[in-house]
Symmetry: C2
Subunit: 126 residues, 2 copies
């Protein structure tokens, strides 16, 4: 299964070790920039939150158990280290421009590829 990135995200974290383990622990801000060929996919975006699906391109894809507790598998965690390093971060939306979202609550290393953007289920009935 092949994905082309739809864009990238700029964040204050130069390396993965600087990035926090979950976006909702931080108020760090970032910018999602969607490639020109995908910009129409953002038309009409007016939601207060967005689910950023990104690719942890510097993650170790060979591990199946957690470094901190080898009795637990990676599927019990949200660590980026896993066979398919697809990561999910729900961010607050601060602003929208053509092909661009300014967001708060980022936890990815600067320049990480963005796979997808989705509307958030936050604040909706479950």
């Amino acid at each position: 299964m092949y994905c082309d990135p739809i864009g990238t995200i700029s964040t204050p974290f130069e390396t993965t070790s600087e990035a926090p383990s979950q976006g909702f622990h931080t108020d760090a801000e970032g910018v999602v920039r969607v490639g020109d060929e995908y910009a129409d996919g953002l038309s009409g975006f007016d939601a207060p939150a967005v689910v950023v699906v990104w690719w942890a391109d510097r993650a170790d894809r060979s591990v199946l158990t957690l470094d901190r507790d080898p009795s637990r598998g990676v599927f019990t965690s949200r660590s980026p280290a896993r066979p398919n390093p697809v990561c999910i971060t729900e961010c607050e939306v601060l602003g929208v421009d053509t092909g661009e979202l300014q967001v708060r609550g980022v936890d990815m290393a600067d320049g990480s590829p963005v796979v997808d953007l989705k509307s958030s289920l936050r604040d909706r009935p479950r």
Copy 2:
């Protein structure tokens, strides 16, 4: 960016048109079966909920705007039709076996490839 499925999910929905638009609207049950080579990734799984990241292998990847409202882009929605059809469904966990999770709240077509499993942020502080 290339993903190999880590497994597949069985659901009651034979086709995508039978599948509901969001898992939390249904009590439908399914089974995630993780491939033997990835089964260690489920070691120690004991959470009440799981985020199933799956691949909508029958989705139209060529669309950027919504059929129901062409003024809105696909990134404002959670429709499977999008450039990279990576979908996210949070399910309740009913049981765990080796390489297998029984879950409730599925919305994928039967046999959809599973890309990843993650612990849920539900019930955690935000």
